[in-house]
């Protein structure tokens, strides 16, 4: 019979691999006897770090605590838990944060359009209308109302839009009022720019070619979820 828990040494350290098909009770029992064995064998005085891999099983916090309790003592430590699966809830949350929300609509006066994560709006924000996102906001169309990026305090968020009209941009707690007294002389001039918060926490507007320099992380997926 395949044992419920196996120990593996790698370059990064020790791995405790827990069979996802084994019952939790077996896992606890085997962990207990295994650690007992190891504690007997090990040369005392040196700290040993374990990395627990749970395979196709997602452990609850209580189960993780239980395992830590069994394994850990003065010298044995668990650095992390890793599983190949994630809960649907976490997955949806991650999906929401990682993928931009696409809105195709006119945001009229008094309307508020909100998104978790980044928002891509195709349409017009009329005066008095508001778009809000916890991440960055990208507008293809016209911004004549309010765009509020990084609503929950993410100051690295940016707002990219055609700032041809009077509008207001907020990032986190910073507010920037865009006043265009006159229309640009050249009607076709591209006035797509972006607004960001600089290192001094001052909100600034800059031309599009600087976007990659100022926010190099944009356009890359920030990576998966930290599964701990």
């Amino acid at each position: 019979m395949k044992s419920a828990v196996s120990l593996k040494g790698t370059q990064e350290g020790y791995q405790l691999i827990i069979q996802s098909s084994a019952s939790l009770q077996d896992v606890y029992d085997e962990l207990e006897s295994l650690t007992l064995q190891m504690k007997k064998d090990s040369h005392a005085g040196r700290e040993i770090i374990f990395h627990v891999k749970t395979g196709q099983r997602e452990l609850t916090d209580a189960e993780k605590d239980k395992i830590s309790e069994i394994v850990e003592d003065d010298y044995f430590k668990i650095s992390s838990f890793e599983s190949e699966v994630m809960s649907l809830e976490k997955c949806l949350q991650w999906h929401k944060e990682a993928s931009p929300t696409l809105e195709v609509r006119t945001v009229r006066s008094g309307q508020i359009v909100e998104a978790e994560g980044d928002m891509l709006l195709i349409g017009v924000v009329h005066p008095g209308g508001t778009v809000r996102a916890t991440g960055s906001i990208y507008i293809i169309g016209e911004l004549k109302g309010i765009a509020h990026a990084g609503v929950s305090g993410k100051e690295s968020a940016v707002v990219v839009a055609n700032f041809r009209y009077n509008a207001q941009v907020r990032i986190g707690d910073n507010v920037h009022v865009i006043e265009k007294k006159d229309q640009p002389k050249d009607e076709n001039a591209d006035t797509t720019e972006f607004v960001y918060v600089n290192d001094l926490h001052i909100i600034e507007i800059s031309s599009l070619e600087n976007l990659k320099t100022i926010r190099p992380e944009l356009g890359k997926h920030a990576g998966g979820i930290y599964n701990g």
Binding site: T106, R108, S109, G110, Q111, V124, H126, P127, G128, G129
Partner: protein
Amino acid sequence: MGKAIVITSGKGGVGKTTSTANIGTALALQGKKVCLVDMDIGLRNLDVILGLENRIIYDIIDVVEGRAKLHQALIKDKRFNDQLFLLPAAQHADKNAINEIQMVDMVEELKKDFDYILIDCPAGIEQGFKNSIAAADDAILVTTPEISAIRDADRIIGLIEQTPIQAPQLVINRIRKGMMEAGDVMDVEEITRHLSIKLLGIIFEDDEVVRASNKGNPVVLDPDHPSSQGYRNIARRILGDTVPLMTLKEEKVSFWKKIFGFGK
């Protein structure tokens, strides 16, 4: 089965009531059976413009509270044989005296007997507005070329979008040709594009509207005025006709006419 159309604007004073009276009258002139419902409870005007003020016996609140039957409260406009009726608002109550459900019931009742029910919505977006749109199948949005009216109109479109009513149709009222040509105000095309809804008609500023309303005769009864023509065109478009938009060009008074009082 009739159709209920709400006439609304958000901002006050842009001509909702005048438009209701005139579009209703124009529809009646086209042979439709029309009922006008004044929802501006507490500040009723529609009866005044139609010249029916002193003929009110029961009002909408009397109907809601069971003091009168619906047909008893309807006032017949004698200028049209059984074509145009008014359900007047109460003057002694406020907008909260009636709710959406009562309104829907009442309009459903009216739809059995009328081709068109025009609901004159009060200004604002409070209970009076909610009552007015609750029962409507369609909406007509009245605005003037002023930025404040347009802004409020935008807000109203947003609110109507959240209801089952399809996107409202636009009436641009009180257009002053000179100002629009000079670019002092947004022009018809700009307003329509900004609000991105369908244009139903335009009405030029015309002193005669006020003059006629003051006498209790909707201007539309007199076909010679441009504003009257505008309202007649709107009525025809509601009935499904294709009518070209009136032109903006200011008629030049010719040199000879100025001097001699005749000529072209």
